[in-house]
Symmetry: C2
Subunit: 757 residues, 2 copies
């Protein structure tokens, strides 16, 4: 755990700069607008350790696979997000010498991600050549004008005599991915032009041997500044504009860089790309900086209006939930159905790939509660549109139906660990569950009865082929899987996987009874198939220990070295200095230990919270919670909700903090690599589903709130079936207000409450 930013309800702010925390600081100050985004690296030269990272949504590269021993069915490539051509860098020279905070003496440092406005501010006073210069920087990627990146620098000479300032602004294709296998570069330059005060560069991702499309991007920059154009510069890999001027004492000079970024994802010819870049650059030039930033602030204000959560009495908790929502919405806001939510978003390279089951399991519920239904529906359509890839993945394993990938850009699996790729197949059911969840929350059956039913059927076909009938036991089993708990690999009969496969088949059969004759004809499910699916539903093996009163995570789990207390609950015996275990223990040790990375049995209990008894929830929570180390960022939120449901309030609040402040407090000591974007859903889930006990039962919205002891209260906005609600909970009770939409009867603490405007 490490907290390098101050507590503030709206800001991620610090007045300190420690070079050893530079990468962590960069991760934390990432910004994005769904279309593109970047880490919080400095714009100006920095010769110390830094991780430059700028990423374009949906632009990827199929890198060579890295496995020790390739086996049949392994993916052919590993999809990576290439570090984009750098349009951020500037070099600032004072009296001919570059500012470089790794070397210079400086003071009055402030770095502030203003989440309310969606801008990243920084300022410092640097000493150069006996002069003191104040430098202020503000930057953003626009949520109102997606192709726009803007950076405004202000220089103030605090000395008594003049200094010369020179700013060189770059578009530079000489970039590397740190995760490139052998120092290869992923971009080649197709074209470039540079004039005195503006320039552009067209780059293309490197060719690949896997038949996936190359991407082209054009970046054009222009500048508005008090300085004078001095020189245009170009090499094979970059273009640059240099400006210079004299800073007289206490008379600030400004330098604005405006860049527009377009890609072949939106424009299919070089000509169209070029025309778009020109047009958008004109648009960017026509507006004042004040107008550009105003549009940014207005759009963020509208987002917060719809979905802010306020916490009264705990600024750390407040900061946590806002950081969660800010970063989640910076990554995905549902404007482009071809995009999805990568686990690092635009904040780092790790994990590669764009789309994990995180989206359906953890993020979709947040969008269901914070957006109009088109946004979550887009996330469902994303999978429907990638069915061909899912067929391919199943075929690669010699199996029928559709196997959705663990990691993908285009539907085809691109992750390279067999124990994950082949085995963490519960994801197929999670994707089916998202259809169910969408339908349950929105009441909108149009997806499940059309596109959704196709997805369900193809997943059911996969399950029917993937299970086997154990004659010895007279039951269907699923061998060789990795559950949600990735600290166990290649286990047999993971309860979660088996339970969810059974559920998926059951749900698909239900939906088949409801689809239109037309759709049924298209789906073409035979009576034999249905009978087989029903047989699997009836005879699925679900490991259970009656004596302990728990579902058993997988066969053999209880044979592990587990110390039980007097209540038959495990005792966590990990010394504190061995946490997180994934940084201290060998993989061998982790696999054999009983410790659990993230909710596994409990994942299904969360999904179907109201279908398990209190006793079942309590026994399983009490048993598995002590064993869970939450070293997946996706874990604590689910336990927080379960704990809240069981009215383990203290535990629930502890877990809320762990999820909402996961990156702010660097809980798992890995935020240097980037933020845990998909886990940014956790704070919302813990408050809304946890503390407020939000459920939808038989179409009715219900709450059963409590207030964490340290808080005075909290309030949140909730989108539900065309209504916007304001839910305010404090120690005096719960007030729920209908802000827009039709009247509605909900349940609060078990009692019907009718809401009208």
């Amino acid at each position: 755990m490490k907290r390098i930013f101050e507590i503030d309800p709206w800001k991620v702010v610090t007045h300190e700069f420690n070079p050893e925390d530079k990468r962590l600081q960069e991760s934390m100050t990432s910004i994005g607008n769904e279309y593109m985004g970047m880490r919080g690296m400095f714009e100006e030269q920095y010769s110390g350790d830094t991780h430059q990272g700028i990423y374009l949504g949906g632009v990827w590269y199929p890198d060579k696979t890295r496995v020790g021993w390739w086996k049949n069915g392994y993916p052919k490539y590993f999809g990576k997000v290439p570090n984009a051509i750098d349009f951020v860098s500037v070099d600032i020279k004072i009296d001919g010498e570059s500012i470089d905070l790794a070397k210079d003496k400086f003071s009055d440092f402030e770095l502030c991600l203003d989440m309310k406005r969606g801008v990243l501010d920084r300022s410092f006073v640097v000493e150069k050549n006996g002069h003191r210069i104040k430098v202020e920087s503000e930057r953003f990627v626009s949520v109102a004008f997606k192709e726009l990146y803007a950076n405004k620098l202000t220089f103030t000479n605090l000395s008594n005599d003049d200094v010369q300032v020179e700013v060189t602004s770059f578009i530079n294709a000489d970039v590397y991915n740190e995760d490139s296998n052998y120092g290869e570069q992923f971009w080649t330059v197709l074209d470039k032009q540079v004039a005195s005060d503006h320039g552009k560069l067209v780059g293309e991702t490197a060719p690949n041997n896997f038949g996936t499309p190359q991407f082209t991007t054009e970046m054009a920059m222009t500048h508005v500044t008090d300085l004078q154009p001095a020189q245009a510069e170009e090499t094979d890999k970059h273009v640059a504009n240099r400006f210079s001027g004299t800073l007289t004492p206490n008379s600030p000079a400004t330098f604005e860089k405006r860049v527009v970024v377009v890609t072949s994802r939106d424009y299919d010819t070089r000509e169209a790309l070029d025309a778009a870049a020109d047009k958008l650059l004109s648009k960017a030039q026509e507006s004042s900086y004040a107008d550009l930033v105003k549009a940014q602030e207005d759009e963020w204000a509208a987002r917060w209006e719809k979905s802010d959560i306020t916490i009264d009495g705990d600024d750390a908790a407040q900061q946590g939930i806002r950081f969660n929502l800010f970063q989640l919405f910076s990554t995905y806001y549902g404007n482009d159905a071809r995009l999805n939510i990568g686990p690092k978003g635009f904040t780092g390279e790790k994990y590669g790939g764009a789309t994990y089951w995180d989206t359906e399991a953890f993020c979709l519920p947040v969008y269901l509660g914070t957006s109009k239904k088109e946004v979550p529906r887009n996330l469902l359509m994303y999978r429907y549109n990638q069915l061909d890839g899912a067929y391919h993945n199943a075929q690669e394993q010699g199996l029928k139906g559709a196997l959705y990938p663990m990691v993908t850009f285009n539907g085809i699996e691109c992750h390279n660990e067999w124990e994950i790729t082949f085995e963490e197949i519960h994801r197929n059911s999670d994707i089916a569950y998202a259809i169910y969840n969408y339908t349950k929350m929105t009441g909108d059956e149009s997806y499940v009865l059309n596109e959704g039913s196709k997805v369900l059927v193809e997943i059911a076909r996969f399950w029917a082929d993937r299970v086997h009938f154990s004659k010895r036991n007279g039951q269907y089993m699923i061998h060789g899987v990795t559950g949600a708990d990735e600290y166990e690999n290649n286990v047999d009969n993971n309860w979660y996987t088996n339970f969810m496969a059974q559920w998926e088949l059951k749900y698909t059969l239900e939906i088949l009874d409801k689809v239109s004759a037309d759709q049924a004809a298209k789906l073409n499910v035979s009576a034999d198939e249905k009978a087989k699916w029903q047989d699997i539903v009836d005879k699925m093996y679900l490991p259970e220990d009656k004596e302990l009163g728990i579902f058993v995570q997988h066969d053999g789990f209880l044979d592990k070295e587990i110390t039980l207390d007097d209540h038959n609950n495990p005792i966590n015996e990990i010394p504190a200095d061995e946490l997180p275990i994934n940084q201290h223990w060998s993989w061998d040790h982790i696999l054999r230990s009983p410790y659990i990375k993230q909710a596994d049995v409990l994942q299904a209990m969360w999904y179907f919270m109201d279908e398990f008894t209190e006793e079942q929830k309590k026994r399983n929570f009490d048993f598995y919670e002590p064993l869970t180390v939450h070293e997946s960022s996706l874990s604590a939120s689910i336990y927080a909700i379960m704990a809240a449901d069981l009215r383990y309030q203290e535990k629930s609040v502890e877990l809320y903090e762990r999820t909402a402040r996961l990156d702010l407090d660097n809980y798992n000591n890995d935020t240097v690599d980037g933020l845990h974007i998909t886990a940014m859903s956790g704070g919302w889930l813990a408050i809304v589903q946890g503390f407020a006990g939000m459920r939808v039962v038989d179409g009715q919205l219900q709450f059963k709130p409590f207030v964490p002891e340290a808080w005075n209260g909290y309030h949140f906005r909730l989108n539900f079936r065309g209504r916007l609600l304001n839910v305010a909970v404090d120690k005096t009770g719960t007030k729920i207000e209908l802000l827009s939409g039709d009247d509605l009867t909900i349940k609060v603490d078990g009692k019907d409450v009718k809401l009208s405007k």
Copy 2:
């Protein structure tokens, strides 16, 4: 299955050349002398598909690891045998145009590996420019003069007019490994010299980041020829000598290339290396080719004298066993205790590494029966000398004691699949078993009571830390392992692993009672440790199914989809066109299937053949044999011995053929990559331990022979405790003769027989 060579008792010979079988042909005609070796690629230019491979024993390179996701405990590098600097290539020009059998018209092709003499012969008549030239090539790496490679070319002009011949002979460092990750080269040239008819080149392996030593090699060539020196040539990467002459009709011209190869393994300075190369080159020059080849033939004759196996009535079987012994001895003959037996020997790149558990489990018994005891003792010392590496490997997993590596050059694990590296830990017991086996066969306790006891104790310490006590079951268990059957990964309680760990602890305790007080003090095993080991021995869980009467390969194995026949034995349901399954099924399919790659439960039954009842052996063989696909080259021999023991003669003979002719008939369709060197032990084991039923029980040598139906008989030489025996078995009975050494009483078919000279 594919047979491209003719049946011949002493030769691997063909008169056909199919370019599509070039790699397979190259693998099959590999030669070696323990010190170095090479595939059977042509010496002259060949522009078609070929896999050039020349390897130097003990010279290796730690290449970057390739894993999708590095985790704690994974090895840092992957050890590879670099393709050596090429000292074999020559270019032969006829009237100015290079001979290239990929393009030229030719006839009378013969390629013959003469196993009796240890030379590779080839001849063909090529048409160039309207002329017909007969080319004959003979080459060998000398078993009498280890640094020597010799190649004699003879050119005969079958035309009526003169032709010009030009031969260029190379030492060339511009070589690649096919398994190089990104086309890197592993050799850099340090020095080179070339004169008109001789030259030399000094190369060094590339630097590495892992702190393992670089190797230097010096190669010097000289030539004896009827042609005239024409030109010396050098570039950055190679030296060459060119010779030319006129071939008059039917007057053969010869060209001999003699190369000596020395390395920094034997000479620790550049000066020493250089001096050695010069001295050895002089030695090579002083002898006539006839003398050099005579020394080769004499040494091979001596080897065959000591260890040949003859089979009367089945030339295919005869060829198989000779090929086995020839290739095994070409790889390792015990002259250098720093070397070991790599699975591909000098015949290909696959597998990397030099040393697998194959050596102890499969090869050691052959050397125990064919060599003086110093040879197998050297193999044991190899592990003792690498104890530091084994400590390191255990520590990397957070475990005590010694974990011998799955793959290594220096004792440190260098293989990169967690399911193998971390988990296939039965190897530790196999290495302990080799100590037991050596002691049992030789009667020599000097190793086990000294160095061996240290190895045993450190392995015991590993096991005591690696097991866990399952309170629920009141038994010790071993979770998270891969057994000998690598078609199952990360299983719990693999019977073989548990049984062998139990045995290892028991054996170590026995040995501790026998070591000297001095040695005991050095070993420093506490009473608590011993008590713990005894407790594990007493309470080890060994999965068993009483109803089926079998040991269960691992927990959950019987839950798989297995169809049993009326005798409760599995039915093999793999369609013939899906074999080998590792080339047709996805890894997922393989893992979940009940099919077994190689002996697993049966491996331990073989080790301790006389400690299991007939019924136990029969039930387990009958159950596991139908499930076993023998897709490890190490499988069929063990089943052949078990089948022989059970008097399943037909099955035993079928399995003998599969093991002895594995590569000759390309059973598993993978011999293109190189020969299965460690599996070359299989034919010997199947005949000696299988058909002849050789055992040592309480120090007494025993036989219980039978003759395969299709054979008239067989005979083999056996080294046993200082004696050389001749064992001849035919349909009339068994004749055992003592050729040298003291009188001996053995048992044949249960009856004592006294042998005297």
